[in-house]
């Protein structure tokens, strides 16, 4: 037990706490050249240069907007597909499941090239709608898998119980299924937002450079030798999924029958 705890502590320090602290310190100081023997030179230059970039706020808001839209579409598609996969028994189910996972097995760039032509034809290329749709390619297979597993864990009988009591389809989804699927929604939130936020190639191809997201602003900085700016940018980037996660968590508190401090009567 003690050994396990020690390992946990060592791994957490090594892989999480130390790198994060280093990143934070670097973002708040001038690039550190340890061989010169000098200490850290504190300052806000990293953040100052970052915020000078006129496109930063626009890119941030567009990224958040796309992130939320992609998350919403993922929850909707994943929920109903996952539910259907658990509810119905039919021949060739395994094949269908494999087919639904296939977008992550085929390189997404190949899909994007093909879809680009299609999007040009239907007028979605270079639009934010086109980018939202293309971000579904690397995310939807995961959401279907996550919801499929969660529904399976919930069990068919638990899904039949509200129906037997007299609940309609939507009442059942909102009062029983969504509250019980909270862990799935949590995992999906992080997964979807992080995947959507880090898409460079897909966004660049379909958005044609007109739809400005954070990676598009971030990439030119990679050539930069100023590690302070990079550190500041990384922290800014990391704060976005974190704050979106908090927003989703708050929204989930409004789901019926949430365990809230003021709802516990005991």
């Amino acid at each position: 037990m003690i050994r396990k705890k020690a390992w946990f502590l060592i791994l957490t320090l090594l892989l999480f706490v130390i790198p994060l602290t280093a990143l934070l310190l670097q973002s708040l100081s001038a690039p550190w050249r340890f061989h010169t023997g000098q200490g850290l030179d504190w300052g806000w230059q990293g953040y100052a240069i970052l915020f000078e970039n006129p496109q930063l706020w626009e890119a941030t808001f567009i990224s958040i907007g796309i992130g939320f839209a992609v998350l919403f579409m993922n929850v909707t598609i994943g929920l109903f597909t996952g539910k259907a996969l658990v509810s119905y028994a039919y021949r060739g189910k395994a094949w269908l499941e494999a087919l639904l996972l296939s977008p992550i097995l085929i390189p997404s760039l190949a899909i994007a090239m093909g879809l680009h032509l299609f999007m040009i034809r239907i007028g979605l290329a270079d639009t934010i709608w086109g980018v939202m749709l293309i971000h579904l390619v690397p995310t939807v297979p995961y959401s279907i898998k996550i919801f499929h597993n969660s529904y399976q864990q919930m069990g068919k009988a638990m899904m039949e119980q509200p129906h037997i009591l007299g609940a309609g389809f939507w009442t059942q989804v909102f009062t029983v299924e969504l509250p019980l699927l909270r862990p799935a929604i949590r995992s999906l939130t992080f997964l979807t937002i992080v995947i959507s936020l880090s898409q460079y190639a897909l966004t660049a191809i379909i958005g044609g450079g007109r739809v400005l997201t954070l990676p598009l602003v971030f990439f030119p900085f990679l050539d930069n030798a100023n590690t302070s700016i990079m550190a500041a940018f990384s922290i800014w980037f990391a704060l976005i999924p974190l704050s979106m996660y908090i927003i989703i968590e708050v929204l989930m508190m409004f789901l019926p029958y949430s365990r809230l401090p003021w709802r516990n009567h005991r």
Partner: protein
């Protein structure tokens, strides 16, 4: 005058060419409790699921209060089903679970929920979550939740099978009284004959997709319709496809005890105790059958003689109803 509450007419269910239910017909009167008993895998659960509306029959009709409800969805039927597992919603408290049942069926009244909580003895635990109460309490809450929807018919699918024996016994009587005090029409499915006798006014022996016999416990024991009913009841020594002898007329000894009777060789396999009496588990060699019967005293040897007086041998009634 009695009124037909629920009727099943020629219900058939086939699944991948297997006939699970075969032209099943029966009816229930208002306030009647029927136990359906049969071996595992005989299709009892399928029958309940069809009644509840969770599955569609391949053929036949379900009629409730004179109206055909075969095509009605489960949430529109005034039929509730209590599953083998309590299936309480884990994110709701005991009270919320009951209120949920009342609200989704649009029959919510504060007083009703309170009286149900009182009836199941859970007032103290009303704000507990399902994970914080015992299995028996959970099953009682599940029943209250089903009752909160004010169903005209309530179906039970082996609701006590996951409970320990002493709790099961208490809950059986409690549910029986609860249902009869409210004059609720109910169907109770079980594989346990004793449970079936406690719960039901009528007992239906179900096997091979059809009712082998429907009647009171007394009728079933006195004149079983066929070999299947008799072998399921376990209260008879089956001699052949047509004849049987009630176990209480069977005599066991070291040698033939009556002159005018049939005699068989048997071995004592095991002795157990039930209701304070020893039970001998015998293997009747000539009939290749096992029987269990209470006895007094001890057997001097493992080899015994089973004697049946001629006037105790009866033939199967063949009457299903």
């Amino acid at each position: 005058m009695t009124q037909k509450k629920l009727e099943m007419k020629n219900i058939t269910k086939t699944f991948h060419q297997d006939k699970i239910l075969s032209e099943l017909t029966f009816h229930l009167e208002k306030g009647e409790i029927m136990s359906i008993v049969g071996p595992s895998g005989s299709g009892k659960t399928t029958l309940l699921r069809i009644l509840a509306g969770l599955e569609k029959p391949s053929d036949g009709k379900i009629i409730m209060n004179g109206k055909d409800i075969t095509k009605q969805k489960a949430n529109r039927r005034s039929i509730s089903l209590v599953f083998q597992q309590p299936l309480l919603f884990p994110h709701m408290t005991v009270k919320e679970n009951i209120v949920y049942g009342a609200k989704v069926s649009k029959k919510y009244k504060e007083e009703k929920v309170d009286s149900l909580l009182e009836a199941i003895g859970m007032v103290r635990f009303q704000n507990h979550y399902p994970s914080e109460i015992s299995g028996g309490q959970q099953q009682r809450v599940a029943l209250a939740r089903a009752m909160a929807t004010e169903p005209e018919v309530i179906l039970f699918d082996e609701p006590f099978s996951s409970l320990d024996p002493s709790l099961r016994q208490d809950l059986r009587y409690w549910v029986r009284d609860f249902l009869s005090s409210r004059e609720t029409t109910a169907v109770f499915v079980t594989h346990d004959m004793e449970e079936a006798m406690i719960m039901g006014d009528q007992i239906a022996v179900f096997e091979d997709g059809n009712f082998q016999q429907i009647g009171t416990a007394e009728t079933l024991h006195k004149s079983p319709a066929n070999l299947r009913v008799a072998s399921f009841l376990g209260g008879h020594l089956i001699l052949n496809d047509h004849e049987f002898a009630p176990l209480h007329d069977v005599q066991v000894g070291t040698k033939k005890t009556v002159e005018d009777g049939v005699n068989f060789q048997a071995t004592v396999e095991h002795i157990t105790y039930q209701h304070g009496r020893p039970i001998a588990h015998l293997y009747v060699i000539d009939l290749k059958k096992k029987v269990s019967l209470p006895f007094d005293g001890t057997f001097p040897s493992r080899e015994v003689q089973v004697t049946i007086p001629t006037d105790s041998i009866r033939t199967f009634s063949g009457e299903t109803l």
